[in-house]
Amino acid sequence: MIWHRRDAQPTERDLLALADGSLSASRRTRVERAVAASSELQADIAAQGRALQAVRDATEERAPTALRARLELARDPHSRRQVGRPAWATAGVSVAALAAAAAVVLGGGAATSPTVAAAATLATRAAQAPTTVAHNGSALTWPRAAGLPFPNWAGRFGFSAVGVREDRLDGRLATTVFYSRAGQRVAYTIVSGSPLAVGAHTRLSTWNGTVLRSFPAGGRAVVTWLRSGHTCVLSGDWRLESDLLRLAVWNPARGYTD
């Protein structure tokens, strides 16, 4: 359906422009007259209109906040500065806490990259598989082998494991299990290797010798501690901070007496 005689029939470009409203006034009358005289052209314009309306409705979709946080981190993964933040940081939830990675080290171990903040962003990504599928898969293999099974909080706290994802942070394995309870979501990440650095502005708590650090990041609460020298990161909605601390120190065998 291509028209080469510019003045006689509408061109394909004319039809596109008429449908999306960009046709110039000088061409519009002539093209509209041609369309009015042809049922085929009317059907063409109507079909384009349906497609365009659907596309326009969908262009209200915005990039998720979590993606913005990930991109800020990708832009400057080892940032230690608070100034000169990129413009997009102001467009979504502030993730300054994620970018600020001052050299405070968990448990006194050596400072290594990546940071706890980087690990916490994994919780904002989608799960790759349900835990039922991943139960015998590779994602949960290394934590089990390292004596770091993910806890079952369903009975005591009502948080059921619903999904799992596996990532690499600068070559380290990082496994995240997502838990859900009545619409509340928390994510538990274990990062292999030596302790990760955390930000300077963290709140310190201890429970029977376990040192926990908590800080806000991107509207979420993050709690981090060590298990057998590996870094654990638990995060959820900021209103769940006290719940996260309780979850972090709960031992399935001994409750809170560990």
């Binding site: 990039a63 991109l71 832009r75 997009w88 467009a91 904002t124 790759q128 619903v162 997502f178």
Partner: protein
Amino acid sequence: MSRRLDPDHLGDHMDRLYRAAWGLCGSREDAEDLVQETFARVLRKPRLLRSDDDLGYLLRVLRNTHFSARRAAKRRLRPDPLPDELDLVEDRSAREPHEALEASELYALIAALPAGFRDALVAIDLLGLSYREAARALQVREATITTRLHRARLRLAHALDGKEEAKKGVLRGREQ
């Protein structure tokens, strides 16, 4: 005269690139990964552009990254993502579930168009490039873009009509 792409302003294009990525991939999760990988690729080294068309340049990188990822994906196993109702992030900017579902269906239909048609529609109707910018970004003639966009819109309309008919059929089936 070339100029350097300003990393601090990449975020200005994020929403549009995200929608373009979704149109290419047909999946929201894949779109997020694609945008992240695209930005990581762009940020890896300074980029010199010969025009003011940042968005066209980013679309070109996005497409190249998409093709590379598809080639790599063919070589490895990959678990299915969780369904939408198990989205694990509270995102106050997110749309209502039914709206998100409709958007998912639309982007899946766009992604299913033949590659040339899909790319033209993504560049012009989703990303908002001019015909000239789209032609430069996709490295085809403007006339080709015109034809492909026209066919893409008609095919998309046809696919939407088919979806609508299928839904009506399901509703009729439930009523009987």
